[in-house]
């Protein structure tokens, strides 16, 4: 495999292709007749998925940032189209690319109106998502970051549920509010550097180096605050989460999946890539750390408790996302290798499991046109395969060992317990509530009596639906039982962040040899 990829110079064009291909695909879809839209979209995303898969072999964890390319864009202002991947981003890129064909499949029959627009927007969204993860220039990052809003806005607003207009604009404005402040912060850094060094550069490395020499001075807390807020809204960190349930509930299946699986990860990715490396001292100032940890833990428990009482199954999963993302935040802010590795795994695991849940809910919705939990019950009788998959995916979301969910949560908790025992301890109660809300929901959907007449004729999973779910099930088990290869690839990146923070804030990351033995 590796030889083959080398032969076709895969590492030379892979990242470009990942961004450009969907954009070209989107243009083609718009340009060609509507009846080709689905097929084209599937084709493009499959190719995209293959390219994404190829990264597995070309990625070398020991190299740090790699596959770097930098093309001048606005030379006068030091803006380059600079991209690359490292251990933090490679799996998020792969997740985005691999989920996409499934998303295309999910709306295969359900989306009937404005096919061209739908599929074109999905592809644009894909390009944006991947762009965010590979951007190594803050201008480019920001452009991709914002660019994603539009397709998502349309996907929710045009193909969404009954209250879609409200949800779409809330999503849009809320996210935009955060990111614009981040824009100011980016500019402040760039121009501060310009005053000091005389050159303008938006390059990640340059700004990182500049932030590291401490010249930003009293500006730093504000800059960090701006970055923090932007990412906190995206994650979403409690209490910035209320856009999420609305957006999830109204979005069409594919958009829900991508929102949960990929878009939320951009927030936490942003922390790991930008906010923390740029401002380690601010991020881990005693008060900040305490506040963030508190918010993360509140998010975990609060999200779970509120999920418990949701009558709408999509809302339930949305709140569960708040809870899960709390784990990611906890893992990051605990600042241990295990915590960060765990955070990355939770990101992937949540991407797969919650994505799976949304796919499943979507399949139900296609059949029954309701998301009200009370409208179901006893479906296992008519849809045994569906019930089986739902239970498995739910279990992975609950974090049962052997599934992906466990590995991430376990790493996060064990990692955070070493430095933040209280927070980790409280967070661990999340595993109880997770079981409570999901199993209760599962019970009310697929178990109990099959007493609603309209549920009695429901068809079990079709072949297309199996095609969507099987890869996810494989992912769930693979990450759950054999996460080693993934962990090995992300470890250097996680270690690098911890080392960096340790250099600046030794208090936060005690050297491991302090342990008793």
């Amino acid at each position: 495999m590796t030889e083959f990829l080398a032969a076709i110079d895969f590492s030379g064009w892979a990242l470009h292709a990942l961004v450009v291909l969907p954009l070209v695909g989107a243009l083609l879809i718009v340009a060609l007749p509507a009846r080709w839209a689905r097929g084209l979209a599937l084709g493009v995303t499959l190719v995209e998925a293959l390219i994404g898969l190829g990264l597995w072999w070309v990625f070398d964890p020991s190299l740090g940032m790699q596959l770097r390319v930098s093309i001048p864009w606005i030379p006068a202002y030091g803006v380059n189209y600079a991209i690359g991947i490292d251990g933090l981003s490679v799996f998020l890129v792969m997740l985005s690319a691999l989920l996409m064909p499934l998303c295309v499949l999910s709306g295969w029959n359900y989306i009937e109106t404005r096919l061209q627009g739908y599929y074109a927007l999905l592809l644009v969204l894909l390009a944006g998502m991947i762009g965010v993860f590979i951007a190594l220039d803050l201008f480019v990052f920001y452009v991709f970051w914002e660019l994603m809003l539009i397709p998502m806005y349309f996907l929710i607003g045009v193909w969404g549920g009954s209250n879609r207009l409200y949800a779409a604009i809330k999503f849009f404005i809320y996210t935009m509010a955060g990111s614009l402040l981040m824009l100011v912060a980016i500019l402040a850094m760039v121009w501060h550097r310009w005053h000091a060094m005389g050159t303008i550069s938006f390059a990640y490395d340059d700004l990182l180096a500049y932030a590291a020499i401490g010249a930003l001075g009293p500006l730093k807390p504000w800059l960090f605050g701006a970055f923090f807020l932007a990412f906190a809204i995206k994650v979403p960190v409690f209490p910035f989460h209320t856009w999420l349930p609305d957006a999830h509930v109204e979005a069409p299946t594919a958009a829900s999946v991508l929102l949960a699986s990929v878009l939320l990860k951009m927030g936490t990715y942003g922390y790991l890539r930008f906010a923390i490396p740029f401002f380690p001292a601010e991020a881990f100032a005693a008060l900040t750390q305490a506040v963030v940890l508190a918010l993360a833990v509140i998010g975990i428990v609060y999200g779970a408790l509120v999920a418990l009482v949701q009558p709408d199954v999509k809302k339930l999963v949305a709140y569960s996302s708040v809870s899960h993302m709390g784990f990611v935040m906890l893992g990051i802010w605990a600042m241990t290798v295990q915590g960060i590795q765990g955070a990355i795994i939770v990101m992937l695991a949540h991407g797969i499991s919650t994505g799976g849940l949304f796919f499943l809910i979507g399949m139900l919705y296609e059949r029954r046109h309701t998301r009200d939990i009370a409208a179901f019950g006893g479906l296992a009788r008519v849809m045994p395969a569906f019930a089986t998959v739902l239970v498995i995916v739910s279990l992975s979301s609950i974090g049962v060992p052997g599934t992906n969910g466990f590995v991430g949560e376990f790493l996060v908790l064990i990692g955070s317990f070493t430095t933040q025992p209280l927070a980790a301890g409280i967070a661990t109660t999340g595993v109880i509530f997770a079981a409570a809300y999901l199993l209760w929901a599962v019970q009310r959907v697929v178990f109990n009596k099959l007493d609603k007449p309209e549920n009695q004729g429901l068809k079990d999973l079709s072949r297309r639906e199996w095609a969507i779910l099987l890869p996810l099930l494989a992912g769930i088990l693979w990450l759950g039982l054999y996460p080693g290869p993934v962990l090995r690839r992300t470890e250097p990146a996680a270690q690098a962040i911890v080392d960096q923070v340790r250099r600046v804030m030794p208090r936060v990351v005690p050297p491991s040899d302090l342990r008793q033995n």
């Binding site: 809330k170 404005i173 209490p239 989460h241 209320t242 856009w243 609060y302 408790l305 509120v306 418990l308 009482v309 241990t336 290798v337 295990q338 590795q341 765990g342 296992a380 009788r381 045994p384 395969a385 089986t388 239970v391 279990l395 049962v400 060992p401 052997g402 466990f406 376990f410 790493l411 908790l413 064990i414 990692g415 317990f417 070493t418 025992p421 980790a424 301890g425 661990t428 595993v431 109880i432 079981a435 409570a436 199993l439 209760w440 019970q443 178990f447 109990n448 099959l450 039982l481 054999y482 996460p483 080693g484 962990l487 090995r488 470890e491 996680a494 270690q495 342990r515 008793q516 033995n517």
Partner: protein, 671 residues
């Protein structure tokens, strides 16, 4: 993919040959799960294939275990054989391989799990044959066994935890097997969630240990812990307390026992396998596994013993007034598990494990016997289209004539559980009580535990006698028409019962105490595993006369209890459930299980739900947080309207504002 742990003595090498195939014991049931699961989804009618695959894989696994046992038995392992499968989790210094460890303790458990498991699988073939979820049932059961084997084989806490949660999951699935009835699904969910509370403790315990010791494998814990922790230090106490929380969840002890009686909603063989013989004993196994920690934390041990003793007496009293045959057995199980905890808490790990084994035999037998009875009752009611409760003992009576084999075998099991001399339960229970009593010398609270244990023994004898009496003795109350339909179960069901009956009777032979000529086989067998604890906090045993005295007391209490139970029940005027008057007074309290479920519900569950819905969701989330978000929008809009309202279209006003601006600009510039 497979690698043996390095640096094992040569003797081990010989034993290791078969031992490194131990993964087969896990893989076989797992394969069974996959195949049966696939059949359940796509060929639910292929019952013959399921009948072969389901029990077949288990028998094969049993074979593998026997083979491994044989090779290990001769090796006198000082160190476990570790079968490293693959790296599971590796992050920084945290390194958790997916590895199995074969040692004396896991061998004992393997034998029980696969042996009893095989019998119960066979029994199930008969019991479940007519169920439409036959294949699904076996796939779950296979999965359960696989997980249980992972639990007992795991060489580290996280790997054990895979099995730990896995069995919980299977328990959830099997309790809710007949999910169409909401009560069953509820019971399954309850089991899982309550178990999760325990798991919370388990997880925190792991975190504490990792933080303190930097390792989670049992071998390294045993090596490192005595050096890292001072005896009774806060950290190890905390770790063990959280482990105890985990154990109370899984093994249905106070305060987390409430799920187990509800779990009887599952098919009866499931109750026998999971909720009597294997899964619920996982807590005991865990304590034995981490014996070094408990030895280092005497406070936790004492608490554990106290929980065990308390649960034993508590559950036994509830068992006295239950009418559902399975509920009686369920509370009996809770009570017996209490015994085991009393044992391991007292430092008598061998006694605990011993009781675990004997309990597996006689309780499995009791459950299967009850299953056989229920099977018969069910058929009878089915034949007459009656909707009476097939599990209510008030509807039974006099079944000894219709089901003689079951009657005899259940009577044997009753004698075993009641501690009738020379039956299996007699030895194991006696050993536990004796060690508790002996511990009392240094820690007087153990005397109290001992008394509680005795009282529980009395209770056990009483309710078991009551069970046998109500079910098999006296006249039949099933109904005139139905009585004719009551039959003994087919051989596929009675066969396993016979085997279990045999084991219940002679099971004590595995660890015959020295004073009656035994050589304490189990004790010697487990010695390498329990050595770390033995060095720190050795088990205490009374000697000589005291021992005989204690034994005599126990036997008398057991026999007295049996007699009392029989007298009490046979004198009572028994009527079928439909005509029975409700219990009153304390009997009602017992019948309603001290209202613990209701109390939990009122104090914890409902307030939490109400709080989540009304306060968190409606007030905080929608009102407070989202209200603020929308409020910002509303305020912006309102401000806009104010601005818009200022825009009156009147030039005069525009000019006034113009001039206000002009005054400001002039002021600002000329300042």
């Amino acid at each position: 993919m497979l690698a043996l742990s390095q640096a094992t003595p040569e003797v081990v090498a010989a034993a290791a040959g078969p031992a490194h195939w131990i993964w087969l014991a896990v893989a076989l049931p797992l394969a069974g799960f996959v195949v049966n699961g696939a059949l359940a989804l796509w060929r639910p009618t292929a019952k013959r294939a399921v009948s072969i695959i389901g029990p077949g894989v288990l028998l094969a696994a049993f074979g593998v275990v026997l083979w491994v046992t044989r090779s290990v038995a001769g090796a006198h392992l000082e160190e476990p054989i570790v079968v490293h499968l693959w790296d599971w989790i590796r992050a920084g210094e945290l390194h958790i391989p997916l590895a199995f460890q074969v040692d004396q303790l896991s061998i004992v458990m393997l034998l029980i799990v696969t042996g009893v498991g095989s019998l119960i699988h066979l029994f199930s073939v008969g019991y479940m044959r007519e169920d439409e979820g036959y294949a699904r049932y076996f796939s779950y059961l296979n999965l359960f066994v696989a997980n249980m084997l992972v639990l007992v084989l795991g060489d580290s806490l996280p790997v054990l935890f895979i099995g730990w949660e896995g069995v919980g999951l299977c328990s959830y699935l099997l309790i809710g097997f007949w999910y169409q009835d909401k009560a069953n699904a509820d019971a399954g969910k309850k089991a899982f969630i309550v178990n999760r509370i325990g798991d919370f403790g388990f997880l925190v315990a792991m975190f504490i240990l990792w933080k303190a010791l930097g390792t989670l494998t049992f071998r390294e814990i045993a090596q490192v812990a005595p050096g890292a922790f001072a005896g009774g230090s806060a950290v190890v106490t905390a770790a063990t307390l959280f482990l105890i929380l985990g154990c109370t969840g899984k093994s249905a002890q106070i305060p987390l026992y409430t799920w187990l009686p509800d779990a009887m909603a599952g098919p009866t063989p499931v109750s026998a396998l999971i909720h009597a013989a294997t899964m619920v004993t996982a807590g005991v196994y865990l304590v034995a596994r981490t014996n070094v920690l408990f030895a280092l934390a005497p406070m936790s041990s004492t608490l554990l013993a106290g929980i065990g003793a308390g649960t034993a007496i508590f559950a036994a009293t509830i068992g006295l007034k239950q009418y559902d045959i399975k509920k009686v057995l369920a509370y009996s199980t809770v009570s017996q598990l209490g015994y085991m905890f009393l044992g391991v808490g007292s430092g008598a790990y061998v006694a605990g494990i011993f009781h675990l084994a004997t309990h597996a035999f006689f309780k499995a037998l009791l459950f299967l016997g009850a299953g056989s009875v229920i099977h018969a009752m069910h058929h009878a009611y089915h034949a007459t289209h009656s909707h009476e409760d097939a599990q209510d003992m008030r509807n039974m009576g006099g079944l000894r004539t219709a089901m003689p084999v079951t009657f005899v075998l259940m009577s044997l099991a009753t004698l075993a559980i009641a501690g009738f001399p020379l039956f299996s339960g007699f030895f194991s229970k006696d050993e536990i009580l004796a060690s508790a009593f002996a511990r009392g010398a240094s820690e007087p609270v153990y005397y109290l535990y001992w008394v509680a244990g005795l009282a529980a023994a009395l209770g056990t004898a009483v309710y078991m006698a009551r069970l046998i009496t109500m079910t098999f003795l006296g006249g039949n109350r099933t109904g005139a028409k139905e009585a004719g339909h009551l039959h003994e179960a087919p051989w596929i069901m009675t066969g396993p019962l016979v085997v279990l009956g045999l084991l219940s009777v002679v099971g004590g032979a595995f660890n015959l105490p020295a004073f009656i000529g035994g050589h304490a086989g189990l004790e010697q067998w487990l010695e390498p595993v329990l050595a770390p604890a033995a060095r720190i906090r050795p088990a205490m045993m009374p000697h000589g006369a005291t021992e005989y005295l204690l034994m005599t007391v126990a036997v008398l209490i057991g026999l007295g209890g049996l007699w009392w139970g029989y007298r009490m029940t046979s004198r009572a005027t028994l009527v079928p459930a439909a005509k029975a008057v409700p219990d009153t007074g304390f009997a009602a309290v017992l019948n309603r299980k001290y209202y613990v479920d209701e109390i939990y519900d009122a104090l914890l569950v409902r307030p939490l739900l109400r709080f989540s819905e009304q306060v968190l969701w409606k007030e905080a989330d929608q009102g407070g947080i989202d209200g603020t978000v929308n409020g910002v929008a509303t305020v912006a809009r309102a401000l806009g309207r104010v601005g818009s309202w200022l825009q009156t279209g009147q030039v005069g006003l525009y000019l006034v504002l113009f001039l206000a601006g002009a005054l400001y600009v002039i002021h600002a510039v000329t300042r």
